[in-house]
């Protein structure tokens, strides 16, 4: 199968993720969308690794998975902290910092 198809799917997933970040207000969902963006990149990496026949892309993808997990964990931690401060869990309400 042509590499173009993989890339098309990957790009679609990436855009879905980006669009989600833009339209959703719940930080938990935004974190999910970020995962989508990272995994779109993973898909592209693995596809390229296959195309070039080298392992570099796969290793890269593995490392990205680890990093993505860290990022989500941290994100959850911050959201919990916000919740415990009885602050609204809604990114549009968090705009004390501006200007």
């Amino acid at each position: 199968m042509d590499i173009g198809w993989y890339l098309a799917v990957s790009a679609l997933v990436f855009c879905t993720g980006a669009g989600g970040v833009l339209v959703r207000r719940n930080p938990l969902v935004i974190l999910l969308c970020l995962e989508l963006m990272l995994n779109a990149a993973n898909l592209a990496l693995v596809a390229f690794a296959r195309m070039h026949g080298s392992g570099d892309g796969q290793i890269f993808a593995l490392i990205v998975m680890v990093v993505a997990a860290c990022e989500v964990t941290i994100g959850l931690g911050v959201i919990v902290a916000i919740h415990r401060r009885r602050l609204p869990v809604d990114v549009d309400e968090l705009r004390e910092l501006r200007g």
Binding site: F48, G57, F60, A81, L94
Partner: protein, 519 residues
């Protein structure tokens, strides 16, 4: 037959090893019960770790080798940047000694996060491989996301943490996608192989994959160095984060990101320069304009410095665009100067946040020249230096930057730097004027402590009696800020010193600039 173990260059790896080990030790030390150990032992261990890292970096000075399967470079540029990271982190630890954020989030955790962020920076500064670039970026960013939010009782701190996390992750994802495209186009992750592929395969430079990759990487990097139009997280995060964290973030992140910037663009992607240099030049000019314009009307000092850092990022981007040895030298010099002058300013802000009820508002500096010359002078020097007034390090730095742009054939970028500096005089001198020309404001007797104040419980408690009785006429509380004052004086003096005698720093910057083997 036993498989042969790969050769490990422990000497070259030693700064990274020291940071890793130090981080674990600090995290463990934070688990002990003794309050003294947590409060003073942990910072002490952190300082030891950072000092050891700096020492090892000096030890490795002059080396020029690639380690870990050519994924990391040990050269003077990396070591120079290591020293900057350590200096920034040491200043942050000292400024945080009395801060509420380590108290609220746990000393061990706070300091371990700081160390792991420095670790990410050292990895990034020596990255020779796309994987390592991404890894380094995440390793430095993720701890910073948390550190921004470590003032758990202050909503602004939490808000800044979440904002940084989300926008930062979008930036990282963009960068990652760009890296994937470059890998797809060239089939390699190592910088040398990428450069070889780009120069040897005809048409690869204008390949859509390459172009997409370059575009996305430009966005990701510009986001990390907070260049316009990808700057928007900067003022909010700078303002919301605990001030010592802001200080560290402002100076060290920038150094690390620019280090990776020159390695990736001026070495690996140098053959595609015709594609990316107009883009970066446009971003540089946009940053200079947006940063200076945005800073004009700020009253929060941290926001003001944030906008100013956007403008400064624009100045430094100009050196990346030039993409020759002189540009890298000027960049290395300017990064060091930038660190020195910003730390002086942030140290003063930290001290005044704790001394006055105005937080980081510009009013907190009123009358400082008369009441606290030891703070007013460093701040004055820092501001003059940021504006690029002669006899300060900032002047020499800007002079070399402009010289590099002119020699590199980008005179108009040099002109943009000059125009931006002229604009910036307005807001930098406003800070100076506040210190020397205005009287000490006396807060109204019944006025509650503004929400903008440091927000720490100690400060709020200390503010209470004054509200009722008003026994003290001046807003200066007799809180000793010896360590913050010391940091301010040290870096203020360095600003002046390197402004008058720049050549020691020049020599280091020249070695660092030569490391990339550019012309």
């Amino acid at each position: 037959m036993t498989p042969e173990a790969p050769h490990i260059d422990w000497a070259g790896l030693s700064p990274i090893v020291a940071l890793t080990a130090g981080g674990i030790v600090v995290l463990a030390a934070g688990l002990f019960r003794g309050a003294w150990l947590r409060r003073y032992g942990v910072p002490l261990l952190t300082l030891l770790t950072l000092g050891a890292t700096a020492g090892l970096s000096i030890w490795q000075w002059g080396e020029d080798k690639a380690i870990v399967s050519r994924a990391l470079a040990v050269d003077d540029l990396a070591m120079f940047l290591n020293l900057l990271f350590c200096a920034g982190a040491i200043a942050a630890v000292v400024l945080a000694l009395r801060d509420s954020s380590p108290e609220e989030s746990g000393h061990g955790e706070w300091h371990a996060l700081l160390i792991s962020s420095v670790l990410g920076m050292t990895v990034l500064a020596s990255a020779q491989n796309l994987v390592v670039v991404f890894l380094g970026f995440e390793l430095l960013s993720i701890p910073l996301y948390v550190m921004c939010a470590t003032n758990l009782r202050r909503s602004k701190s939490l808000e800044s943490g979440l904002k940084y996390l989300i926008v930062g992750s979008v930036g990282s994802a963009t960068l990652l996608y760009g890296l994937a495209m470059i890998y797809g186009a060239t089939g390699a992750t190592g910088f040398e192989q990428i450069a070889t592929a780009l120069s040897s395969q005809a048409g690869l430079i204008d390949d859509p994959l390459t172009l997409t990759g370059i575009g996305l990487i430009v966005v990701g990097f510009c986001f990390k160095v907070s260049a316009a139009p990808f700057h928007q997280w900067t003022p909010d995060v700078y303002e919301g984060a605990p001030t010592p964290v802001t200080a560290f973030m402002a100076v060290a992140t920038k150094a690390a990101a620019f280090g990776a910037f020159v390695r990736l663009f001026d070495v690996a992607l140098i053959d595609a320069a015709t594609n990316w240099s107009p883009l970066l030049a446009a971003v540089a000019v946009a940053s200079i304009v947006v940063g200076n314009v945005g800073a004009l009307t700020q009253t929060s000092l941290k926001r003001l410095l944030a906008w100013s850092s956007i403008a400064q990022a624009g100045y430094m981007l100009a050196a990346v665009v030039v993409a020759d040895r002189e540009g890298v030298e000027a960049l290395a010099f300017y990064l060091a100067v930038y660190l020195v002058m910003n730390l002086a300013a942030f140290a003063v802000i930290v001290a005044r946040e704790r001394e006055t009820p105005f937080g980081d508002d510009i009013r907190s500096l009123a009358g400082l020249g008369a009441s606290r010359p030891a703070l007013a002078w460093p701040m004055t020097l820092a501001m003059l230096s940021l504006a690029g007034i002669p006899a300060t390090a900032g002047f020499i730095g800007k002079f070399t930057l402009i010289g590099a742009t002119v020699d590199g054939g980008y005179t108009w970028l040099g002109v943009a730097i000059v125009v931006g500096s002229m604009l910036s005089l307005y807001y930098y001198l406003r800070v100076v004027a506040a210190m020397w020309l205005s009287d000490v404001p006396v807060p109204a007797a019944r006025e509650p402590v503004p929400a903008i104040a440091g927000g720490s419980p100690e400060l709020d408690a200390a503010a209470d009696p004054e509200d009722g009785a008003g026994q003290d006429a001046g807003p200066d509380r007799p809180v000793s800020q010896a360590e913050a004052t010391a940091v301010a004086v040290l870096f203020g003096a360095a600003t002046l010193f390197f402004g008058i005698l720049p050549s020691p720093l020049f020599d280091l910057a020249r070695d660092a600039g030569s490391a990339l083997g550019l012309l």
